[in-house]
Symmetry: C2
């Protein structure tokens, strides 16, 4: 047989996705599989058992990342890694993160089923606490493994009930002893649902992820003047709500006036001391701006300063803003991106380049290893919700592309 | 002497305002004289003692309203009433309500000092719980007296600590036995600070209040679609925050496009489940609309329906609104309004007609008796705050106009 026609088993992958959704099932179609809780322990045990049954060597590092390695024929080759995370949001879905791990397992199962020996080993990774909803922030497993976050600091982090990561790792038996990294991997691939509507809207099956957007967070304060809702004429008002509303509209234009991938979101607004019959004296807003290029983020930030001053003048208020976080854009390795694109072509799936709007373990890994990501559509672009959904066909297509990208990188035994 | 040149004593009134501000003083220049609390009891005792010293007959009705009557020369004449309220907001000022009662006392003192006998009796009223901040709603004393609110219902109302109005009235000794009304008064006049910036901005001393605005309250819900702040392109969003912002701007235009007194205020906005990196799925807003004419309120409500549908279409969201309260406009009695205007002219104070944006006991009384109100400027239009302020001269001017309006109505003994 030629490896070009090798495909993963769509039914097996889908059955595995369904089967493992019992670990942390909410009963409403979603998962509450919080990092290092009992359900996370159960799905980890299940994964280790399955990988072991496939002949993999399983290692766990001190932050609980699981590495299941299928040997290659060439002892001198660094493993090609793939994976994602098995933890979910408190009312999360059945695919975010999970698909990447279970599709990696499906890749290993497919190679085993077809007796394919790769030259380089292949390592399936389950990263600890990607979501960051039980222990903040997210990406803790990959960050500690890569040396971006101190192990002791991470182990001391506690959830809302005071339980520490260290304690929880010990409790579920995943305080491992394998050394921290970054390990010497050849490369890393991560399959993930898009968490956005672009692929679905374009009738595409595969997103070839070229990188991840940069993200900047701002806090904005609008300071006007309060007053009695009945006694202050419109013309004499310095209404912080009206000014904030104007600002929200102008911020939207800052994003829509740029090239397409620019997004700007005012997620929160608070009116201190708000009352139904009081003119709002001040308003506090948050702003999340993302774009794949730092220059555009700079330009939007300059635009924000302009609209802040325009709104201030138009409404007789003061608008102040400050940047509270800055994640620079990530560009994935061109050869890994090429491997994903070639794999999609080989499998005949409609695909297009896409930039990730969300953060992933792959974004952290990309600073250390050649990295690529594969996106597949999710229904209505919804994620982090119990009704998060996708089709069996898209799940399998993603696994097929992961298989061929990994194969291209690992090579077949001589 | 001709009564035309009679004036109140500016120093005495100002000293009385300062002296009584010790009852409930917050120590930061304001008052916390909550209805029927110990400080309210103290200032009531003080008022009763002062009125009694002037020879007035004091009566208290079962809801604690105080009526201090200075006899007239004609036993067949109904008393001319004036007054306001001595209770304040939890961090209120020294003038809202208080000025109306103490200026009424100053009118009685001035008549006594100058031995002026009026034909009709004059009754000074202190209404219970105008503010409604301890026992909701406001205007309870006048509403019960007028038969608009059931006495038993009112006495059973309780504050945040479970204390009832009935219990508190008994505790401070103001559960009176005078019959409820509406009593047979000739008319009612109330002096009050404007609580808005119009008089100050116009360099005016006296506002001749022709009536009170109608007020309608609405709850508005904007229902869009949530999503990940990084992954949903701007063009595919149904952002409830952006739609709400657009709505706020259009609502402002609904008011500014009408004739001047129309005001519209979005006082509260809430984004359920708001998060910095999530596109808001829904937004809840409150709207307060006021205008002196019901027709204009109707037109604004029709405009609201239009902009709700426009915003819905423009942003692919659903906008629903419902009216949650409706206070019809109040027109004061033309002869009482004329008496106030003539009094201002006689005293030589710059004045203009004005419509009250806030609710007052006088608005309730106007449904039963010929009623008029006098406004005087307050600093920066501020009320319901500890730094609420006004000048001694404006306080005295208001008392002078009250004096001459009452005199015009009561007549001088033959």
């Amino acid at each position: 047989m030629t490896l070009d026609t090798l495909r993963t088993d769509a039914d097996r992958l889908w059955a595995t996705l369904s089967e493992t959704a019992r670990f942390g099932a909410t009963g409403r179609g979603g998962l509450a599989r919080l990092a290092l809780g009992p359900a996370d322990g159960q799905v980890r045990d299940w994964l280790v058992a399955e990988a072991t049954a496939l002949g993999c060597t399983v290692q766990v590092d001190p932050i609980g990342n699981i590495f299941a390695t299928r040997a290659g024929s060439d002892p001198g080759r660094a493993p090609v890694a793939c994976g994602s995370h098995l933890d979910t949001q408190p009312t999360g879905g059945r695919f975010d993160g999970i698909l990447g791990v279970l599709a990696g397992l499906e890749v290993l199962r497919t190679l085993a089923r077809h007796d394919v020996a790769t030259a380089a080993p292949i390592t399936l990774i389950n990263w600890t606490n990607e979501e960051g909803s039980r222990f903040a922030p997210g990406l803790i497993g990959s960050s500690v493994h890569l040396g971006l976050l101190d192990l002791e600091t991470a182990l001391a982090l506690h959830d809302g009930d005071g339980a520490t990561m260290g304690g929880c790792l010990a409790e579920i038996g995943y305080a491992g002893s394998a050394p921290l990294g970054p390990w010497d991997f050849d490369s890393y691939f991560e399959l993930h649902i898009e968490q956005g509507p672009v692929l679905e809207a374009g009738g595409l099956t595969i997103g070839v992820v070229t990188g991840a957007q940069g993200m900047r967070w701002y806090d904005i304060a609008v300071k006007g003047a309060g007053g009695h809702a009945g006694t202050v004429p419109m013309a004499l008002r310095h209404d912080a709500m009206v000014a904030a509303a104007d600002l929200v509209g102008r911020i939207r234009t800052l994003a829509t006036a740029r090239n397409r991938p620019a997004v700007a979101t005012v997620g929160r607004i608070e009116i201190p001391g708000a009352s139904r019959n009081t003119i709002p004296a001040s308003a506090l807003l948050t702003l999340d701006v993302r774009h794949p290029e730092a220059e555009t983020l700079d330009a939007i930030e300059a635009g924000l300063a302009e609209v802040a001053s325009q709104v201030g003048e138009a409404h007789g208020v003061r608008v102040e803003f400050g940047r509270v976080s800055n994640s620079p854009p990530v560009a994935f390795d061109p050869t890994c991106v090429g491997a994903v694109r070639t794999a999609a072509l080989r499998c005949g799936y409609r695909h297009a380049d896409i930039v990730s709007g969300a953060g992933h373990d792959a974004c952290a890994v990309a600073g250390f290893l050649p990295t690529g990501m594969i996106f597949v559509p999710c229904k209505d672009g919804v994620s982090h919700q119990e009704h998060e959904d996708m089709t069996r066909e898209d799940a399998a297509a993603g696994a097929d592309v992961l298989l061929h990208a990994v194969l291209a990188r690992a090579g077949v035994a001589a």
